[in-house]
């Protein structure tokens, strides 16, 4: 997994993106008022139109003042009862049935079975719950209007606001009632699916330091471990398929047996601590980025091997209190080879820890060599006791990790590629320190919270559309809003012309006539400008649409963190929470005005 999802600083988000969104919302409201005025004046003339718009605004203030929690809860519990009557619990049964049969198809031979299991349960829950929210919210209000049960509601002192909010609250309650057991069942499903036992296949006595026995486990769940036992009777296996077991020796001599503990490391929530990245070019001069090795994704830049080029990460807050025994450094470096070299072996490189303080007595550690593992994470354990280079005589001696940390708790990590004409590729978030793991269950709960937020947004869009569209149409509209929101990054790229091949009409034309996307259209000036003119309008509206709909893919992206065993960042959670809250607020405001200004009995 790459952390290419840019998480802004919360403050940056709040005063950048969020304030910008507020301005957009204000513009939207102004546009809404103006459209309302236009419609009203078309019907009754400008004076009457102005009067009726003013009346609606005044009465919405009145509605807000008279807002009643009891009424809202009454509407919400009615929605819950209605949903239960419509047998939504079937969805949970479907989920359990899917899980029952999933065990047959999930490939436990995978190198990372935990990721497979987790992404499966999370995706299944996500789509089921979103689908449920879609159906519940889009059909409820239109059914009430069609059956005219709404007549007995709106002739009571119920405000349109309470109907909208009650519906959203009710369906969210139903969704939550389903999502929570889904999460619990998922946890046990993953737990059970991944748990396995080993027994001893062979064991031999050795005498190497404090290791007394080494051996091999049986082949279970498509893998086996080697293990070693220390003189105190405890031991451990090696890491295979991202997990290991503890070993306990019971008994002595020939009658000794070995017990293996449950797997460790499969279900984890690693907490990466990122640093800032800067570069040295091949001559050793400072530069802000490395080399571009071709038309590759610009996310990573490269440093040349066998030169002075280096990538330098500066980590902050490296204190003995936080990392009493040192830390693990995780690296996801890419390799770009200009010649084949030895394909069986990785490309050699070195890590040097440096003190950012130029006047420090000890300025750098001894180089730690490693082989870059392409495409998988590579973990380097940096212990507290470390070999350092004495600044005065250049001798290498034992030192302490924290000798290399300056007074402000900063530490530099220099990575260099050791082989000539080979390159290392990296981005800022490719190398990070691992903090102490967060509890996995809490992380899973955070993943489900991301799904929950999507459900809340889909529900409010559904309720909004159902205030003025009939059931099936409202559902299609909600579904479209979800799909467009889900692909909003792509659609935005098309709309801004960042994707090659032009707008929708031009692309269609190119597909049909099989024209290359990178050359100009070969149909003459006038037809081209007509096609591009139509596309311009389409692209403008696409751009507006993507700006208004939530980026659901972003929300789903957070579940990927859980599947890949990374802790979901608190900032990301808060940003998503705030984003979802704003969407719900604005969408229910729109729904309120749509419901308030429509003729219920028409």
């Amino acid at each position: 997994m790459t952390f290419d999802q840019v998480i802004p600083d919360f403050g940056e988000y709040l005063f950048g993106g969020f304030v910008l969104s507020l301005i957009r919302v204000a513009l939207l409201i102004a546009a809404g008022v103006f459209i309302g005025f236009l419609v009203a004046s078309l019907r009754r003339g400008p004076v009457e139109g102005f009067y009726s718009v003013a009346k609606v605004i005044a009465s919405s203030v009145n509605d807000l003042v008279n807002w009643s929690l009891r009424r809202t809860i009454a509407m919400a519990s009615l929605a819950v009862q209605e949903a239960i009557r419509r047998l939504v619990l079937i969805v949970f049964v479907v989920f359990v049935v899917i899980l029952l049969f999933a065990g047959w198809y999930l490939d436990t031979q995978s190198e990372n079975p935990a990721k497979l299991y987790l992404s499966f349960v999370l995706t299944a829950s996500n789509f089921l719950v979103v689908l449920l929210a879609l159906f519940l919210s889009a059909f409820s209000l239109p059914a009430d209007i069609k059956n005219r049960t709404i007549y007995t509601i709106v002739t009571k002192p119920v405000r349109a606001w309470e109907i909208v909010l009650g519906r959203i609250l009710g369906f969210v309650t139903v969704g939550t009632m389903l999502l929570v057991p889904m999460g619990i069942v998922s946890y046990f499903f993953v737990q059970r699916g991944l748990s396995h036992d080993h027994a001893v296949e062979q064991v031999a006595a050795v005498a190497a330091g404090n290791v007394t026995q080494t051996g091999e486990t049986t082949f279970d769940s498509h893998h086996r471990h080697t293990f070693k036992v220390y003189d105190d009777g405890t031991g451990e296996t090696d890491v295979v398929k991202r997990h290991w077991h503890t070993v306990t020796k019971v008994g002595e001599g020939d009658s000794a047996t070995y017990e293996f503990g449950p797997s460790i490391g499969l279900l984890q929530a690693r907490v990466p601590v990122f640093g800032g990245l800067k570069f040295k070019d091949r001559a050793g001069a400072d530069t802000s980025e490395g080399i571009n090795v071709g038309s590759e994704w610009a996310y990573r830049t490269y440093i040349e091997g066998g030169s002075l080029a280096a990538a330098i990460w500066t980590f902050e807050g490296v204190t003995p209190e936080r990392y009493p025994e040192g830390f693990d450094l995780e690296m996801n470096l890419r390799v770009f080879r200009t010649h084949k070299g030895d394909m069986e072996k990785g490309v050699l490189g070195s890590i040097v820890l440096r003190n950012p303080n130029a006047s420090a007595k000890i300025r750098r550690s001894e180089a730690i060599t490693f082989t870059a593992k392409e495409y998988v994470s590579d973990k380097q354990t940096i212990r507290n006791n470390i070999r350092v280079v004495d600044q005065e005589d250049g001798s290498i001696r034992d030192g302490q990790l924290f000798d290399l940390v300056d007074d402000e708790g900063r530490l530099e990590v220099w990575i260099q590629c050791g082989e000539r004409s080979q390159y290392y590729g990296m981005a800022e978030k490719d190398v990070y320190i691992l903090d102490r793991d967060a509890p996995f269950i809490a992380n899973l709960a955070k993943g489900y919270a991301g799904i929950w937020l999507q459900m809340v947004m889909v529900t409010s869009f559904g309720v909004m559309f159902s205030t003025f569209l009939s059931g099936a149409v409202a559902m299609m509209a909600t579904l479209s809003s979800f799909v467009v929101g889900y692909f909003s990054t792509f659609i935005f790229e098309v709309a801004t012309g960042a994707k090659e091949g032009g707008g929708p009409l031009e692309s269609l034309f190119r597909i049909v006539t099989q024209q290359n996307v990178q050359v100009d259209l070969e149909i003459g000036k006038t037809p081209t400008s007509i096609i591009q003119g139509v596309d311009l309008v389409a692209m403008m509206s696409m751009r507006v649409m993507t700006g208004m709909l939530p980026d659901y893919a972003n929300f789903m992206g957070t579940t990927e963190y859980v599947a890949n065993g990374y802790n979901i960042d608190g900032t990301l959670m808060s940003i998503q929470l705030l984003t979802a809250f704003c969407y719900v607020l604005v969408v229910s405001l729109v729904a309120y005005y749509l419901l308030k200004t429509r003729e219920i009995a028409a």
Binding site: A74, Y151, K156, E599
Partner: protein, 312 residues
Amino acid sequence: MADQVAEAIPSLADDKPQAESNVVIETRNLSKVYRDFWGRQKVRALKALDLEVRKGEIFGLLGPNGSGKSTTIKLLLGLLFPTSGQALVFGKDASDVGKNERIGYLPEESYLYKFLNAVETLDFYGRLFDMPADVRRDRVNELITLVGLDWAKRRQLKEYSKGMTRRIGLAQALINDPELVLLDEPTSGLDPIGTREMKDMILRLRDEGKTVVMCSHLLADVQDVCDRIAILHQGELKELGRVDSLITVKDMTQVRAEGLTKEAEEEIRAVIAKHGGKLVAMENPTTTLEELFLKIVRDSEAKPGRRSTQKD
């Protein structure tokens, strides 16, 4: 009870100005045109209706199907918006939600949630009036007893007969002890006993000082209970006035007597002839079918198992 409700709903007590006029409903030039999707005119459902309904009266809206009765009621409730003109309820615009605190509405068919039972239904509507739980509980029990559904109060409404649905519909309209009750076809689908009970209920509401507006095409029902009526036809007001003065045929006298001999009858005929009148009918009077049916049912309830027969 009524006091408790008034406490629970502040606007009930506060909004009422001391010098409020007797006019509860007022429509001024009220018109409604139904349009299609393109804004083209489809039907002129109501044409320039001017009406006033005063406090404490039973007002009937009469007319054949499609005459604009239901449209008027829906305009008064704010379920429809007028094309032009105004509908005022308690002096406020009909689109104002606040007026609903003082209104009870029984729709044409009781559009209720079929999956709730009677108690849940009334409790739900009570909550919509923001009534506290204890007030609600008392009021629900009171109303269920009033409409005679104690025996079926825990059954889901989907199991209810038409008559029972109508009763629970009436109960939900009265949950807030309204000052104004709007009834759309209150007796439709009811059997003769149900019809009579509904009419008694309407009269009782008036006796409690409430204003009742009902619309119906069943003339007999309207005649029995309404103080004043408006007759609508094709969206236009045709007649408006007091029922007793509207149905009195001023130039006709009906003579009914019993225990007269043939000679006495001849004598009366002679008297009428002497005054220049023309005898239209003089015969043994018959009771109405409704009365007869009610009598039979009452007799049969009083003496179960015995077939009731008419004397002589």
